[in-house]
Amino acid sequence: MSVRVGLLSAAHVHADAYVAALRELEDAAIVGVADPDAERGRETAAHHDLEYVANADDLFERIDAGVICAPNAAHREWIERATDAGVDVLCEKPLAPTLEDPRAIVETWRDADVAVGVAMPLRFSEPARRARRALEAGDLGSLWAISGTNRGHIPGGWFVDPELAGGGAVMDHTVHLVDLVASLTGERVAEVYAEVDTRFHDGAVDDVNVLSMELTDGTGFLLDGSWSKPDAWHTWGDATLEFVGTDGTLAIDCTGESITHTVASGEEAGVHTVSYGDDPTAKLVADFVAAVREGRAPLVTPDDGLEAVTVVEAAYESAASAQPVTVETQSGANDPSDG
């Protein structure tokens, strides 16, 4: 029998990708779309030839699992409603803004008998998986420094609304690589110094996100997660990591396997990047659906999500004080190397 899945809000730009990934799976069926914004919900449902379900509780009764594509500030409520209904969920990242919300989510998740996954697709990236094998084999010797980029376009809509997003580039573009590095190294971020500002657009949230971090083993970790790529750039952004060790250097470009497509005319005229690499989102969704079916936890769980948000909040604190900030581990967090 198929896992019955509902789309819980269509606010996130990744909603389309989740629908496409779910449709590729033989053991999953998409039941419908719920969204407090009826117009948005109807539009997404129509676009994918799905049913819009006006009352989310009605949808909960008809599904085994949901994918939460709500704005960050609404994640907690969606997760609480889903767990109350006994529905497993995959939640977009970051887990939730502030420390209060993600902590509450972790508590809810621990007390409930449901699977909750956090969407960290880079864990499923093939370049990252190969890096994990090399790191685990000790190819680099002792790790000295990590340098990462997760730049992007400035997103629109709720992403640049401080109330709904909880922040700007720091909130949006820190957690992917912080989570991946924690998972790959088995260390977590112990200290963060942040240079944060709003310089690329006139909005109310930050778009400059340059973080100088140190892991628990002393490894330096520099991350540029700024929204610094112009809309006219050839693709949405990037995700790269470079590890420098005593015995070697290893660099991955998670979107490096791509071809260049120039469109000559029409609305899409310009130079575009077309990925031919393995799709991490498809693997993320497949892992979640398998977890639901097998009654196990997805690869990335709320405690991982909470750890990443803790770094985000520390970064904002550092930016406000212009001093490095110690990142406290959240009690009960799993060893990040488990993933």
């Binding site: 420094a145 730049r151 240079e195 310089r199 100088s212 520099l222 005593t246």
Partner: protein, 320 residues
């Protein structure tokens, strides 16, 4: 135009090859161990000295080109100024602010011309990047990664008292360039990991104009990864990107070897030295005078102090 070169190592070779083709005669070379092997290898018919003071006193030169370890710069400038000789200094100007200030004072008092070789300003890619319109500056990214420089005599790069270490010797290339592009820096936060030789470091920058930048410098890369640099200048109305790895202008392969090279008719070193020589001839200012080099040294020292202290440092606070 005649030049005397102090030093007979890697940088002396680089400069000598730049002078070849310019209207500049290498008239004399001084090196403590005797420059004869260097002269022979470079095919130079220059007078050989072991003592740079003797070179300055006896050789008929228009300027002294100092290609020696950084800690010797100050004394060589003193020798040059005592003999009324103009001087070109390899970067960095000196390993300490004190020595750099003495250099500045010596050439000012002697009313001589002194240029400092911040060669990245003459790399045509970096020059073009600076000229590209990007709107209001946002984030600058500059990386410079290489194996440990093992070509220094007596391994002087490994002696931090002599070279100044990673930020002062290597990161200063990009610190100077970014300062040239975006102006003064208010605060620096740096981290560094090192053993006796290898070292890798990063520094974030907050410019006075509000922009943010970061440099990453490495002398910890494997031998199979020769020097690579990367530059990105992002603004609110544009973006410039440059990577030095895998140049495509000239590539050649044989069964045993492969070549990937830039094809520039004039190397950045050549362009830099041409500007200095032109300035000397015209009585103009060299591109980078001691005051400019000191401002960049101060920035590098701020990174060094920040990495030691674990807190941000303002370059203006650096006093030694």
């Amino acid at each position: 135009m005649k030049v005397g070169i102090a030093g007979a190592g890697f940088m002396a070779r680089t400069h000598a090859s730049a002078y070849d083709g310019m209207n500049v005669e290498v008239a004399a070379v001084a090196s403590p161990s005797g420059p004869e092997p260097f002269l022979e290898e470079a095919g130079l018919e220059a007078d050989a000295y072991t003592d740079p003071k003797e070179l300055c006193e006896r050789a008929d030169i228009d300027f002294l080109d100092v290609c020696t370890p950084t800690d010797t710069h100050r004394d060589l400038v003193e020798i040059a100024t005592e003999t009324g000789t103009n001087v070109f200094l390899e970067k960095p100007i000196a390993p300490t602010l004190e020595a750099a200030r003495e250099i500045e004072a010596l050439v000012a008092e002697a009313e001589l011309t002194c240029g400092v070789g911040h060669v990245v300003r003459f790399d045509p890619a970096y020059r073009r990047a600076r000229d590209c319109e990007i709107g209001t500056p946002g984030v600058a990214r500059a990386r410079r990664l290489s194996p440990f420089p093992d070509w220094g005599s007596d391994d002087w790069f490994a002696d931090r008292e002599r070279s100044g270490g990673l930020f002062v010797d290597l990161a200063i290339h990009d610190l100077d360039y970014l300062r040239w592009c975006w102006g003064p820096v208010d605060r620096v936060f740096a981290r560094r990991t090192r053993d006796e030789r290898a070292v890798h470091g990063t520094a974030t920058l907050r410019f006075a104009n509000g922009a943010v930048g970061y440099v990453e410098a490495s002398w910890a890369q494997p031998d199979s990864r020769p020097l690579e640099t990367e530059l990105e200048l992002a603004g609110d109305d544009g973006l410039v990107e440059h990577e030095s790895a895998d140049p495509r202008a000239y590539r050649a392969w044989t069964d045993d070897n492969s070549t990937r090279d830039p094809a520039l008719a004039k190397t950045p070193y050549r362009r830099q030295l041409e500007q200095f020589v032109d300035a000397l001839e015209a009585g103009d200012e060299p591109a980078v005078e001691p005051a400019e080099a000191i401002a960049s040294l101060r920035l590098a020292l701020a990174a060094d102090r920040s990495a030691e202290r674990g807190s941000p440092v303002s370059p203006a606070e650096v006093e030694e």
